[in-house]
Each structure stands twice: as C-alpha cells, then as structure tokens.
C-alpha cells in the first residue's frame, strides 16, 4: 500500500495536477474575447494597467486597509506560511531532489524553528479564515461545498505533514503523501485554481481600465 501511494499514485496525482491545470488555463485563454475598438487614453495604458493591477491587488489599496485587514493578515499568514512549507520544508526539498531534480541541485532547507513558525502561521491563517467563512453572514451565503472541500483537504495535508515530520514514520509519511495526492487531484477541478487564475483576472481588469486612464 505504502509503495502504491509513494509510487504510481504519486505520478497519477502529479499528472492529473499538471494536465488538469494546463487544460483549464488553456481553455480559459483560448476562449473568445471581444476586441476593444475604443481609443485608449495612452498607448501603454493597457500594459501598465495590467502590471499595476497584478501588483496592487496583492495588498489593500484605495483606503480600504481597515475594511479588509482581517483577510489581509490571515490571508498572508496562510498563503506565505504554506508556500514556505511547500518549498522549503526539509523533507520537501529532499523529496524534490530525489524525485525530480537530483541531489546536485537544490536550495536551503528550513531549520526546525522556521518550520514551526511557518506551520503555525499557515495553520492559524487557515483556521481563522475558515472560522470567518463559517460565521460571517456575507461569506456564509457565498460558501459552497467546493470551499469546504478545498479547506479540509489543505488542512489535512498540512496536519499529516506536521505529524510526519514529528515522527519519521513510514505510515505517517504515506498518509501525508496520500492527502497531498488527494489535494493535487482535486485541485484542477476546484476553486483552488485561483492560485493561477488570479493572474488572468487581475491582468484583464488592469488592462481594460488602464487604457481608460485608471486601473482600479
């Protein structure tokens, strides 16, 4: 069983993730878009607006910091924490070396204290966001099954990852891999795709309004 999880199932999950994400993005990019025949205020406004929106929408702006502070703080705790864990946790670096790039290549691994800080930030961020999702009247009515599944699959992957690290046990390591594989297979079919689609949405708005003179 462990062999299956760490062997064929891993490759199946990886292929589903890569092909699924690529397929969804290709379909999105290939869909027809009406051309804009209006005369731009400035020739470079579209490109400038797209770049501005890509950067600017990463932070609250336009006097809205107070309104969006909770999301800003918890969102960054979760996303940055998770990204750091995925890319720099020692077992992940070793796994990537072993499976994908070879041991000659690689990058620094997180020391234990940094792993704990990143994990705590990611857990706290995810839990705080989820509590808000369950209690805030605005978010409650927007939430669907996809939102719950995405959160739970991520949470389980993070939790099993921490357990696997605490006790270097094959069974725990396989449980973590299984949960990550579930997440990867689910990813292209879900709203988790926002990890990629945010670029398209921000760039579209920035380009449209940038050519008008102000990218919101």
């Amino acid at each position: 069983m462990i062999e299956f999880i760490e062997g064929p199932l891993w490759y199946l999950a990886l292929a589903t993730f890569l092909v699924g994400v690529a397929w969804r993005l290709i379909v999105l990019v290939a869909m027809k878009r009406p051309s804009d025949l209006s005369q731009a205020r400035s020739a470079s406004g579209g490109l400038g607006g797209a770049l501005k929106a890509l950067i600017q929408h990463s932070v609250p702006h336009g006097g809205n910091l107070g309104r969006t502070l909770y999301h800003f703080v918890t969102g960054y705790m979760f996303h940055v924490g998770l990204l750091v864990l995925v890319l720099f946790a020692a077992p992940h670096v070793e796994f990537i070396q072993e499976r994908l790039i070879g041991s000659d290549l690689g990058w620094p691994k997180l020391p234990r204290w940094a792993f704990i800080v990143a994990a705590e930030a990611a857990f706290a961020g995810l839990i705080l966001l989820y509590v808000h999702r369950l209690t805030d009247p605005v978010k409650k009515q927007l939430t669907d099954i996809d939102d719950h599944l995405g959160v739970w699959l991520t949470f389980i992957a993070m939790l099993t990852g921490c357990l696997a690290l605490q006790e270097a046990h094959d069974g725990l390591r396989a449980t973590h891999m299984l949960s990550v594989e579930a997440l990867m297979i689910y990813f292209p079919f879900s709203r988790l795709m926002h990890a990629f689609t945010f670029v398209l949405a921000r760039a579209k708005t920035g380009a449209t309004y940038g050519r008008r003179g102000f990218a919101p």
Partner: protein, 434 residues
C-alpha cells in the same frame, strides 16, 4: 409600487429561462470566464459596495451578482462542464432563481466598480452585471420603468420624451430666455455637443451654461436633431439593439456635420458608454474623439480660452461620478477646473477614483422600486460631505444630481448641490475682460 430590495418583483410576466441561458452562453467569453474562475468567495467586495454598507444586508454582496453567469459557465462552458453536469454538480437555472436574482442584477448595482478595488482578484463585477442584464432582458425580466425608458429612447429619441421637435422648441426657448446662442443643426461644425434629457427636462440651466462656455471660447459647435441624446438606456437596461441605435444616431450626426469632437454633457454613464463602448457597440472605430464636458472645458482653460472669476462664496466639495472618474479615467479634469477657481475646495474621504457612488448610477435612478434603498445609500454621501464641513457639493453628472436631489428631498438634507458647468458659466470672465 416600491419593492423592498431583495424581494421578488410582483409581476406575472412570463419568463423565458432558455433565452436567458442562451444569451449568457453567447456573452460568456474568456474575459468573463476568467473572473468567474477567480472568485474565491472571500466576501471582501461587500465592504466596498454601498448597497451592502448602507443596509448591512448580506444579500447585497457583489459576488452574488456573479451567480447567474457562474451557473451557466459551470453547466455549459467551463472545462469539465459535461462531467459536472453528469454528476449533478451543475444544476440548470430555474425561473424562480432568475426572479430572485433580478433585484441584485438591476436594482442594487450601479455598476460603479468600487467592489473591483477591494477584490483581491480585481474582478470587474460591473461588466459582468452589464452582460447579465442583457440575459435577464432576453428572458423577459428587468424593471419595467427602466425598460420603458430604453424603449422611449428608441421610439422618441430620448428616455424622457425629448423628441427632435421638443428639442427644437426647448432650444429656442432657452436661447431666447437666456439671450444665448444655441446652434441647432448647423450644416458643418468642429464640435458636436450632445445633451442628456435629464438636463433638457429638469436642469436646462446646464444646457445654457454649456452654450455660454463654448460660445465664450469661440468654439464652432452645434447640436444636431439627428443625434442629440447622450444617455444610453439601451446599455443600462440590457437592450443591446437600443444601445447600438443610440450610438449610431450620435455617430451619424457627428459624421454629417464633420465634427472632429463629440462632447458629452454632464452625464457619467453617457460618457462611459460613448467614450469606452461606443466603438465596440458599432463594431468600428469612431472617426471623432469623445470627450466629457469637464475634459473639454479643462482643455479650454489650459489653452487660456476660458477664464473664471474665483468663486469664494462658500466652501465646496466635489462628487466624482463613477463613470467619469473611476471607470472613465477623467478624474483629474474636474480638479483642474476647480483648482484656483473654488477658493475653498475640500476633498471628501475617500475621493477621486475611490469615491462612493451616489446610489443612482447604472440606471438605478430610473427604477422607481429602488428609491428607498437609493436614499439609504445616499446617507454615505451625506456623511462624506458633512465631514468636509462644506455646505455645497459640486458634481458633473445630471444623473447623480437628480439622484442626490431626490434623496436630499426625501431625507430633508440641507446642503446645496451644484453643477460644475453652471458654476463655471456663472463665473465666466467675458473674453474682452480676460
């Protein structure tokens, strides 16, 4: 009859669900799909929407307005749509849902794009709402008074019944009464001026003011009975054919007089539509430039062709019409006009591109049943103005002005509303004294 926002319109019009779905499928291009795919259901947009802020009703969450399109996308156009449909994960839209969504798509969206600023994905909900309105109209839905305004525009030339004959009568009356030349149907002119029927019928002084300013600057301009109505209720109501007709009329008039510039009067959406969607509606680039009256006057001031006496009677603040500033990109021009003119000018917070909407854009002004919620929204503007301490509010949109005038009366507010064009014309320094 007033319908509380969020309730189903009490009418028995038949609803063609299939037509709505077909229309949404046709309009659902990659630009909209990218938005629908990116929404993470975070709800932050609610904090930016005046309808949510004024009512604190979670139903007025902007992201909910993406629902109709999202449902169609999921069922018929997204990758894996077939799979989702087969698994029962993408149910078909029902008539009850369409009716339930109608107030969200019409009554409580002024297409102001404030939500886009806050959205971490920068989703332009206003543009999705505009497309969705077309589908609702195809299904037979939409506020009857808004739809009627669009039909009036097509059949009579203007939503408020300003036919070419009424236009000629009113122009003659205004010219005589105010001793100002208002050229109508000159054979050739450099500039074609358009008017909003709200001004023509309710704020005619603003038409007189534009004439005085253009005359003072020595502009070769005219109005045309072939194309005069700047408002485009076709776009606001989701009636694409009428939207195109209204733009066509202005383009035809401008081409007939050989105008190089078409000036849009104090009307935000008229500017947004003609300047940024006009060519797209016609399917060809416009052979003239489109400018808002504030842009045009700012340019004349820059060239030294217009001079004004400083206005120091009272402190003033400025309300940015969303379609001119945030969605139009012409934010700086009104400031340039007020700069050095209004001696005690105070900005609101937030202002400019981040300003709060008046509550009546996107055709909401024309929906009788939305009046109560509009007035609630206006309280945000009242608080903004009061915080500046200015007793007067200047703006550059007759639709905002009408919305604010109505709310001002309903809420018994004592501040003064002033049109920027009228204020400038009243303080014009005659050319020989400049």
């Amino acid at each position: 009859m007033t319908v509380a926002p969020g309730t189903i319109a009490p009418d028995n019009r038949p609803v063609n669900v299939e037509a709505a779905v077909t229309k949404m499928e046709a309009l659902l291009g990659g630009h909209i799909a990218a938005y629908l795919d990116a929404c993470v259901h975070c709800g932050q947009c609610a904090q930016a929407c005046h309808f949510h802020e004024a009512t604190q009703d979670p139903r007025h969450t902007p992201a909910l307005k993406l629902q109709p399109m999202t449902r169609v996308y999921r069922r018929s156009k997204s990758p894996f749509a077939g799979l989702k449909k087969a698994l029962g994960l993408a149910p078909a839209i029902t008539e009850a849902e369409l009716r339930d969504w109608e107030p969200l798509i019409f009554d409580t969206c002024t297409m102001c794009a404030r939500c886009t600023i806050v959205c971490p994905m920068a989703i332009d909900i206003a543009s999705v709402v505009a497309a969705t309105r077309q589908a609702f109209v195809a299904a037979g839905l939409g506020p009857p008074d808004l739809l009627q305004a669009a039909d009036n525009a097509r059949d009579k030339g203007s939503p408020l019944g300003v036919t070419p004959e009424v236009l000629a009568d009113r122009v003659e009356w205004l010219a005589d009464d105010n001793e100002v030349e208002i050229p109508l149907d000159k054979e050739k002119a450099e500039v074609l001026l358009t008017v909003s029927s709200i001004e023509m019928m309710k704020y005619p002084d603003s038409v007189v003011a534009m004439a005085k300013l253009l005359n003072a600057a020595g502009i070769d301009w005219t109005l045309s009975s072939k194309g005069y109505e700047a408002t485009n209720f076709g776009v606001l109501s989701g009636k694409g054919d009428i939207a195109k007709t209204m733009v066509e009329r202005i383009a035809t008039a401008a081409e007939a007089v050989g105008a190089r510039t078409v000036v849009v009067p104090e009307c935000g959406h008229a500017y947004g539509v003609l300047r940024w969607s006009g060519a797209n509606l016609l399917g060809r680039a416009l052979p003239f430039e489109v400018v808002h009256i504030t842009e045009y006057l700012a340019d004349l001031k820059r060239q030294g062709r217009l001079k004004f006496k400083p206005y120091s009677e009272q402190a003033v603040t400025y309300h940015d019409p969303c379609q001119i500033s945030r969605r139009g990109g012409a934010t700086a021009d009104a400031r340039y006009l007020l700069d050095g003119f209004a001696t005690d000018f105070r900005e609101m917070t937030p202002t400019g591109n981040y300003n709060w909407c008046c509550g009546g854009g996107g055709g909401v002004q024309a929906m009788g049943r939305a009046a109560d919620v509009r007035h609630e929204v206006f309280r945000i503007k009242m608080a903004q103005v009061e915080a500046t301490g200015a007793p007067a509010l200047v703006s550059a949109c007759a639709n905002c002005r009408l919305t604010m005038d109505e709310s001002k009366a309903a809420l018994k507010w004592d501040k003064e509303l002033i049109s920027i064009v009228e204020l400038l014309a009243d303080n014009l320094v005659p050319a020989d004294k400049g």
